[in-house]
């Protein structure tokens, strides 16, 4: 196994890691595109080959351009540099700046700030730019790389374990533990995890992070449950080149890091699924009811982005205040075309007719009985809000004599209270969710009392959501650890090429080109008081809804999980070196 002794690879890797993230991403994107194209059957093998060559050529040209710029800078008399430094020197300097200095700073967060001076890190904290001189640079680089890439095959977990988020963290820990028990077929608790608390402030996060990096020397870090935590965590793990599994839906967090992977359901995927489903139902015009609290804005933006690629037209995007009848009724009236000003003549006519009928029947005339008929301006409405408001919308629709209208929604719809008591109005409506059949979830996270494939007790729903996320992130981390790489940064490759197990993810691989997990989205049809979980459809209606991984090819040589090993050791072969030469 000679995977990482290639000088070229090392240099290229460090070079990209220390140059701008932008250039790195550009390359990643190119490779992703290649990989994407490989996965996409519309390209023939020849075309794929051409594209790979083209991408490599582009990459070389780009590196060359960067190099020229560096040379030009060196010729600048103001810098007083007459001799251009070698690449090793430059890398060395960058490592001093990006790793050594931050390391010193990070060490200050340790309970014992002198710890570093007593540890192996002592060798590198003393390094300065002078150690990047002509003859020293190479050895300095190797020293830094050697020490910072060491790991204990442990997974560091940073979660807010106190205060109001404790419950969520505990759910995630339930999932993590379940994943460990599942993989190692044991009931040992958290043997692979080192759990740290992030409650409180950035200081708490950095303290936990310092312990995990400098003391525990974990292989992978899991964290970022809150956006603020992610922002504190990811730049540091990026500097130290630590694979990080981010538990957050914000793709923005992982954008600027090469080492961060997102393990979380994505609203964008739900949006795509909704659009696909509407297209399948031949919907041409759709309206959106937007909760004014902004909680669904991300989804709605994704809906708007994706719908442009279809022939579906968004007729209205109406904001409403949840729980305010007038506001919600206004939304209903707008898409039902109930406008007493615009349809004044029609109303007057109906008024006179009703009056005359009452007169003819010798009955008292009640003006309140004169109601405009609905004239629907859309074929369906998307309501990205919880089931309760959906039910109230149903009643308001019916109040305005709209008795049959397609509604579409999100995971927030999923509750027994949506269909109980049953209302025929909901017949044919649907919603999408990031969890399918509850009973098919890993049994370790499903409660014994849970009998329904579709519904969980309300107070357990959130726990199940996060337990599943915890399970998946634990599963990903543990399966990656099974490859037992010597160098921590090599887990990036493992993660990148990690394959989906039990067909949970929508793709063969766990992560897509953006290092977001290919989390599945399920569609539930509402039919006669029941939910029907529809199998995932590949129909893309012009959208590329699949999220291909960035790999060119993937060759798994051997996978052996020895679950009967009393020492709980797992021997796994790493992905083929050639196959990983994507950067």
């Amino acid at each position: 196994m000679k995977l990482f002794d290639s000088k070229i690879f090392s240099c290229t890797f460090i070079f990209i890691g220390t140059f701008s993230c932008l250039s790195c991403f550009a390359l990643t994107d190119q490779n992703a595109e290649i990989s994407n194209n490989i996965d996409n059957p519309i390209y023939s093998p020849k075309q794929v080959s051409k594209k790979i060559k083209k991408a490599n050529r582009n990459k070389s040209e780009k590196i060359s351009r960067e190099h020229k710029k560096t040379l030009e800078k060196r010729r600048n008399p103001k810098l007083g540099i007459t001799q251009p430094p070698k690449l090793d020197q430059k890398i060395c300097n960058i490592l001093i700046r990006k790793i050594v200095n931050p390391l010193k700073k990070l060490a200050t967060y340790l309970p014992d700030p002198t710890y570093v001076s007593k540890s192996e890190f002592a060798k590198i904290v003393i390094l300065t730019n002078t150690d990047c001189d002509k003859h020293k640079s190479k050895s300095t680089i190797n020293l830094i790389s050697q020490i910072t890439n060491k790991h204990t095959e442990k997974i560091g977990v940073i979660l807010p374990l106190k205060e109001d988020q404790r419950k969520i963290s505990l759910s995630i820990l339930t999932g993590l533990k379940a994943a460990e028990n599942n993989i190692y077929n044991s009931s040992n608790n958290f043997t692979k995890y080192i759990i740290k608390d992030s409650t409180g402030s950035k200081h708490a996060i950095l303290k936990s992070l310092a312990e995990l990096i400098l003391i525990d020397q974990v292989a992978i870090i899991i964290g970022g449950l809150n956006h603020s935590e992610g922002r504190a965590l990811i730049p540091i793990t990026n500097n130290f080149m630590i694979p990080t599994l981010v538990l957050n839906s914000s793709t923005e967090l992982i954008t600027n890091s090469n080492y961060a992977f997102q393990v979380f359901p994505l609203l964008e995927l739900e949006a795509k699924k909704i659009i696909t489903s509407l297209a399948q139902k031949n919907v041409k015009k759709v309206s959106i009811f937007r909760p004014s609290n902004g909680k669904s804005d991300t989804l709605i933006n994704a809906l708007e982005d994706n719908i442009q690629k279809t022939n579906i037209q968004i007729t209205h995007n109406i904001s409403y205040e949840s729980g305010d009848f007038d506001s919600m009724e206004r939304a209903v009236k707008i898409i039902s075309g109930i406008d007493y000003v615009k349809r004044r003549n029609e109303y007057d006519e109906a008024f006179q007719k009703a009056k005359q009928e009452a007169l003819d029947a010798n009955q008292p005339f009640n003006a309140k009985t004169v109601i405009l008929d609905p004239q629907m301006l859309a074929d369906a409405v998307i309501i990205p809000d919880h089931f309760k408001n959906v039910r109230h919308f149903v009643n308001i629709f019916k109040y305005h004599r709209v008795n049959n209208f397609m509604l579409a929604g999100t995971h927030e719809w999923r509750s027994k209270a949506l269909i109980e008591p049953w209302d025929d109005f909901l017949q044919g409506s649907f919603f999408v969710d990031f969890i399918g059949n509850y009973l098919q979830l890993p049994k370790e996270i499903v409660y014994k009392e849970l009998k329904s494939p579709y519904f969980a007790p309300a107070n357990k729903v959130g726990e199940l959501d996060f337990a599943l996320i915890g399970y998946q992130v634990g599963d990903i981390a543990l399966r990656s650890l099974a490859y037992k790489t010597e160098r921590r940064k090599d887990y990036i490759r493992v993660l990148t090429n990690l394959k989906s197990q039990n067909n949970f993810y929508t793709n063969e691989y766990v992560f897509n080109k953006h290092r977001s997990s290919n989390w599945p989205t399920y569609k539930f049809e509402i039919n006669h008081g029941s939910l029907f979980l529809l199998k995932s459809s590949k129909t893309t209606i012009g959208l590329n809804l699949s999220a291909p991984s960035p790999r060119q090819t993937e060759i798994k040589k051997e996978t052996t999980i020895n679950k009967n090993d009393n020492n709980q050791t797992i021997k796994k072969s790493l992905p083929n070196k050639r196959a990983l030469r994507w950067n």
């Binding site: 449950l225 809150n226 956006h227 957050n248 839906s249 979380f264 359901p265 609203l267 909680k295 991300t298 989804l299 729980g323 305010d324 009848f325 919600m328 309140k368 009985t369 004169v370 109601i371 919880h386 089931f387 309760k388 039910r391 109230h392 149903v394 009643n395 308001i396 019916k398 109040y399 305005h400 004599r401 995971h411 927030e412 999923r414 509750s415 027994k416 209270a417 109980e420 008591p421 007790p457 309300a458 107070n459 729903v461 959130g462 959501d465 996060f466 996320i469």
Partner: protein
Amino acid sequence: MLSEGKKITENPFLQKEGMIKPSLTRRIILGVFLAAFLSILGISSAIYLWLDELGVLKTNKQDLSIILDWKSPDNSLVFDKNGNKIGEFFSNYHIFVPFEKIPPSLINSIIAIEDKNFWYHNGIDIKAITRAGLAFIKNQGIITQGASTITQQVVRHFLLSNEKSITRKIKEISLAIALEKYMSKKRILEIYTNALYLGHGSYGVGSAAWRYFGKPIEKIEEHESAILAGLFQLPSHYDPHKNPEGAKERQKLVLKSLVRNGKISLKKAKQLAKRELKYKKYESIYGKKSPYFIDYIKEQATKLIKNLNSIKNHGLRIYTTLDPIMQNYAENAIMQNAHILKKAENKTVPKRNTSGGWNNRRIEAAIIVTSSKNGNILAMVGGRDYEKSKFNRTTDALRSPGSSFKPIVYSYALERGKKWSDVVYVSPVTVDGNYRPRNPKNEYLTESTLQRAFYKSMNAPTISISEQLGVSNIIEHAKRLGITSPIKNEYGTALGSSEVTMIEMAKVYSTFANSGVRVGQSAISKITDREGNILYQQPPLEERSEKVMSPQISYLITQGMRSVLQYGTGYHAASLSKWAVGKTGTSNESKDNWFCGYTSDITAIVWVGTDDYTGLAGNMRGSVLALPIWEKFMHSVIDTKEPKDFAEPSGIVSEIINPKYGNKSKDGIKMWFTEHNVPKNKLSPLEYLQTSENYRNIFSR
């Protein structure tokens, strides 16, 4: 004459051969005698023929049958459940008094003034006739004195006119003589004293004693007897109320007669004459006590005794179910809330009066109380003032029950498998194309259990339930429970738009109270004639009862109505919820304001509104207008005797349930369920959503 004389001599009977020829004188005398004889014979024949023509000579028992078979017309009397008289029906005021019960002083007085020889003559008093005849001759054929005996007066009263003629007199004499043959003196006197008109609408001494002295005949004293005895001659003239002086003079005359007849001494007569006469203005019992109920009894009794055109004067004894204490409580409950009703009158649309000004409309109130166990009507107040309006609103007014109809809807829903904890989304509804029942807007976009929707009297959930159950099924259910008025097959019925009577609602609510057994209502337990023969007997309870709902469902709806008092629209009477349950009802524009409720023993229905269906402005509702009356009544009842709690049937369980979301919750309220239909969920998604404000919102982190 000579020729005649010759002829006489030629008569073989008058002239014999060799006899001496009668003298002329003798012949003249003989002729006169003969002529007289012939005249008498002729006159007698003529009188005979005349009397025969009058029928006097043929007088027999059959001619007197009216008298012989006479039965005193008697008022029909109405008694409450305790046997106390509360009313009477009559066209002429009769109170029959047997001879034995007539005070001797009165008998003596009557005989003294009217017919002092009554006990001795055979129907006519010759001396009196002679005296009257002489007066007749003396006054040149004008009858100035009467010579009628009591017997004659009886005959005249029943068989003859009041015409003063010889012919009638002869008939009278003849019939009187005949009557004496067939009837005892006592009986003649009994009829006389009971049948003759004595003024002021009264017939007979019994009724006259009540009318003039306000007491039964047994308690009439001697000086009063003289007054009564004096009435027989000219009752209207000697009416003590109209002409006390005349009555007094007549009394003195009677007393003198008694002295002349040796019945009392002069001294005593003078003493009696001096005694003060305390007349009591007659006040009819009719209209004073439970007048609406009495009217209802008259109507019901007429239906029950079908062979009588009228129950008046038939001497019926009608035993009713009226509980005077309850009636009193009911009347007081309305009276003591008069100020509320008065205030409500200011909320009506004024109407123009005859003088061109504006008057508020009168707010009426009515209450009916029945026994929950046997359907007996215990109290009935058909309006605020019988004198002002005799219209019985408890039985005759068809009014919209409003939400007080909802127990019918919800009991059917429970019967059909729904349970109190079932959750409904409360929003406005449109049904039947354009029917939009009103509902408070602050209830929109909320959620509620059926029980909460029930005790807060929400309209929209009721309509939604009705849609699910079917209005026609609800109507059938209402009929089973006791509604007999036509019910409109429309959704508004579920909200109580179809008009019903209070007595029907009493039957429905009694059925709930009586474990689902509907009992035929009744106000009359027994009717007898005056001899005590039973003409009608209330059927046994079993024959009047029909099980129309399970005890379990009845218990559930009862407990639902308990929560109306505990937490809902009847909260004002929450203190009664230990013993009583009920439901408010308000029709559109507060035209009708109800409170219907019951304990385990009694059911009380209260209605308040205007007779002309005028609406009330402002915050007028069943809970504001009817509930205080019901509350007052029930407090009176419970203060008197604390009722037992409702019997809990088998197969019933209770749980503490969140009233909004229907899940088990220690902070909830007690709800009852049939044991096979108990909620199991400890947590409601809706409650969770309410408390956490975050349902699967994992993306906003």
